[in-house]
Symmetry: none
Subunit: 229 residues, 2 copies
DNA sequence: CGGAACCTGTCGGGAACCTGTCGGACAGCT
DNA sequence: AGCTGTCCGACAGGTTCCCGACAGGTTCCG
């Protein structure tokens, strides 16, 4: 999978590229619109992450020229919270998507995967995470424990997804914070504990089993493991 | 494996380099940002340990220039407990990682190995330590003796991991202290004996075999050896 | 037999963790 | 715009459990 990241802020571009490589993708970064267009021609990405605030040729211009040159590569836009959000909305047909800065990295990767899956064809299959009795459909956002459907808040959903993706590896609270919350969040508090606590209440009320689904590994962090392991 | 350590405090840099060499790696140290950049160019490290508090070009600057010059070498950051931790978090979502000073050397080495394993490719396999009947999965934190799973406290876990990793070499109490506890720990007491004692109780209750898993070499230290050797 | 090295029981301080509560922020609706 | 419900994170109180100081006992060796 080949990813082109376009952002004039090198740390952000690198951040995204690094995460993508960590997932096993090829990734290149561009800091200007011109560079982006050049790389698009040479690198032939399967998907593009495109910041709309660019010096010189801006994001819309880049998109325009990309499309004009006939490439239908899907694009996920990045935008600041204010302003252009409306105009972006108009662009997100055709399988594309957008994200507001600052974003959480897991969120971005999730959207990239969704967009890719959709653009692969009309007959894409659902991506469903499963760990033991738990299942999570990343398209419909349906989460069930056994037969029982659960309704989770956004934060709960993200934390649970992260733990399910990493299962059965133990994740520290710092790692969960870094991946699920927006970058730059100064969470000095016990947010993670709090969300885990709320999750447990929803998850474990369902089953009477003794061992909780999300286990605490004292001094290290949390894991989600299928029962008996 | 080639390691570049960047820290303006020579004792710290040397400490890390020494441990790495002891593990069979090539290691060089730099005490300033400029030196770090020069060495990165000459030495071509596979991984970098980078203190963020540097005189002159600071850690972020070094990282920036490294990335700008196209090198994707993974980095593990060192940082004081206060302040910059948030900014670091933003940088560590990829394969990279960070550690808060003061740290324990084994902790650092463990993270270096994890980062290297991850950046080697998406298809890395789990790292499981085995000595005889004992097995320890460093990702899931599962420790078992034969079939029986053990639950260890953080300190017990670290000491056992250290002994397993060094097995069948005898380690002195001083070495164990230096590697598992944070540097600067004033433990004049018999902490190591204490932890070993507690470990033995957990380990040996499992098997009725006569020889304890962790053996005392009187006058030298402790070893963990597979039975009968 | 005497001392050094080692083992282990106990216990208090404190770290790590859990959970209840509450107010601010935000979205949806009328 | 005003109202209402929901979500989220700050704060604080309570609980569990770790860990290292201390001390007394045991083993080993010269």
């Amino acid at each position: 999978m080949r990813l082109l990241v376009v952002d004039d802020d090198p740390p952000i571009a690198d951040l995204v590229a690094t995460v993508a490589r960590y997932e096993g993708w090829d990734a290149v970064t561009a800091n200007t619109g011109e560079e982006a267009l050049r790389l698009a021609g040479e690198f032939h990405p399967d998907i593009v992450v495109l910041d709309l605030m660019l010096p010189g040729v801006d994001g819309f211009g880049v998109l325009d020229r990309l499309r004009r040159s006939g490439t239908m590569v899907p694009v996920v836009f990045l935008t600041a919270r204010d302003g252009v959000a409306d105009r972006v909305a108009g662009l997100t047909r055709g399988g594309d998507d957008y994200l507001v800065k600052p974003f959480a990295v897991e969120e971005l990767m999730a959207r990239l995967r969704t967009v890719l899956r959709r653009s692969a064809g009309p007959d894409f299959q659902r991506s469903v995470l499963r760990v033991g009795e738990l299942s999570m459909d990343e398209d419909t956002h349906e989460v069930r424990h056994g037969e029982k459907p659960l309704t989770l808040t956004p934060t709960e959903y993200e934390v649970l997804r992260f733990l399910m993706r990493k299962s059965p590896t133990v994740m520290t609270k710092a790692q969960i914070l870094d991946h699920v919350w927006e970058y730059g969040f100064g969470g000095r508090s016990n947010v993670v504990e709090l969300v885990v606590s709320r999750l447990r209440r929803k998850l474990d009320d369902t089953s009477g089993s003794g061992t909780p689904l999300i286990q605490t590994v004292r001094g290290f962090g949390y894991v989600i493991r299928r029962a008996g392991e």
